[in-house]
Symmetry: C2
Amino acid sequence: MNIDMIEAAADRLRGHARVTPLLSSPFLDEIAGRQVLVKAEALQHTGSFKFRGGWSAVSALDPALRARGVIAYSSGNHAQGVARAAARHGAPAVIVMPADAPRLKIENTRALGAEVVLYDRAHGDRDAIGAELAAERGLTLIKPFDEPQVIAGQGTCGLEIAQQAAEAGVMRADVLIPCGGGGLTSGVALALAARAPGLRARPAEPEGFDDTARSLASGQIERNARLSGSLCDAIITPSPGAITFPIMARLCGPGVVVSEEDALRAMAAAFTRLKLVLEPGGAVALAAALYHPEMIEGDAVIAVASGGNVDHALFCTALERYGEGA
Amino acid sequence: MNIDMIEAAADRLRGHARVTPLLSSPFLDEIAGRQVLVKAEALQHTGSFKFRGGWSAVSALDPALRARGVIAYSSGNHAQGVARAAARHGAPAVIVMPADAPRLKIENTRALGAEVVLYDRAHGDRDAIGAELAAERGLTLIKPFDEPQVIAGQGTCGLEIAQQAAEAGVMRADVLIPCGGGGLTSGVALALAARAPGLRARPAEPEGFDDTARSLASGQIERNARLSGSLCDAIITPSPGAITFPIMARLCGPGVVVSEEDALRAMAAAFTRLKLVLEPGGAVALAAALYHPEMIEGDAVIAVASGGNVDHALFCTALERYGEGA
């Protein structure tokens, strides 16, 4: 993995992925006690940064292989990213999803043209299911994070942050990144190290699912005790990846960890102050920026708002509980 | 009013106003039966396009006059736009607001540094109140729409649409614009006529407050029977302006008119498909694009989503009523 792969992915994504804006509000600055910049990846195609990695991986495939199709397993956002990227390349896509994934994510993935295969998250083995289908049909597996071309695609978000932060006059800041398996965090970390060395990538996770923060602290890959039961379903993985973890260990600052309630409150703040819809997992970095200023260094902080695929019932729970989110 | 004034306003706004993205979703295209592009002005500073006109007018003032202060009357979005623009210029701002304006808009206007003077919409005379305060303190009145520098500022939104539509390959389309007094509609119409002659500006209004559509149809300024009682409070005015109407009569296509329910449904669609928060008045153009395809000509339509300053209770009413908004 290196910056050249990320630049090459950026070339392939140009005109296909959206350059998402870096938003701000004086009201958020006041809550945080420092300047807050929010990278609005919920505005990316399919509602999350995952479209970047999906497009990067599908577009990097040999055309003959791509024509046979791709397969992915995902709690939802990676599924939509791969489904749309495959459809736009005219390639079939099979998505293996947990049966308890949000209904909206399952429906969207189907509507984007993919075949959805559901499995039981507690008892099924998605790797085995995926491997069998892949062998049967000659599909290429696109892993959700531990895959160089996926990491390169997510890294394009970091290239944009480097440029947009400079335009905003911010040269030194912590960059907080919602972290599941570490594809986005490691990709952004690589991009920032090469293009904006004053910006430091740091993973953000929900309490109880802070495998990456603990792994960075101990220096070895740690696992979560539970694999489900979080509102932040989009960023729940057993552990950081074999490819992503060494990158994060080399380049990232310490992880930040927030409660689910912090994430819901940050969703309300993004609604009121940015007019941006976030899902809980997509709001953990903003939550740390707003409600845990003691975890952060410097006069400015950049929070990646990584996704907005949330059911309306949960969204309204957040708004009703936290009102204007101040 | 001419394109040079809009270009000059764009120069003054550069680096201060946000270039808002032109969003899209295959799901919205499917609902509308044609390509839909959404100009996300809810992401503008202060949550609506009004910041453009506020900044344009405040920045165009003679510095000595500006230092004495500005005054505006507004149902909310213009107030916030002027308040922030004045504060950033170090100028005092007095805002005359109806006492029944959404609480959030009143609070935000105060928090942005303005002095808020409330009046009774049914019985008070905001023009008289404003004129008296202006004379007393030497304040310059910044009218909400019938003011050349405000129209020029709103027109910068049209310059961006012209460029972004061309980048998306859209050269011919109706551009639907939420319309109150016509500042945004006339400004965008002027910009499109000069820079994208294949794009036709058309005002969008809620039923019962369709003064501009009726004025365009009759060729003379028509008035609304009621002056309040709409969820679309941001775009309720008695009639199009003396400056804005002749511009619209010369350059705009026929107005489109939607129900409040259409607007709420479009808010739900923007939540689900764009991750964008809209207020009812800011959603009327998108509502026409999605739910009234028979009113529109061509293979593509551009809807300006003009504002997102909505209380969470009303927003959740829209989501609960229309779910995924399809």
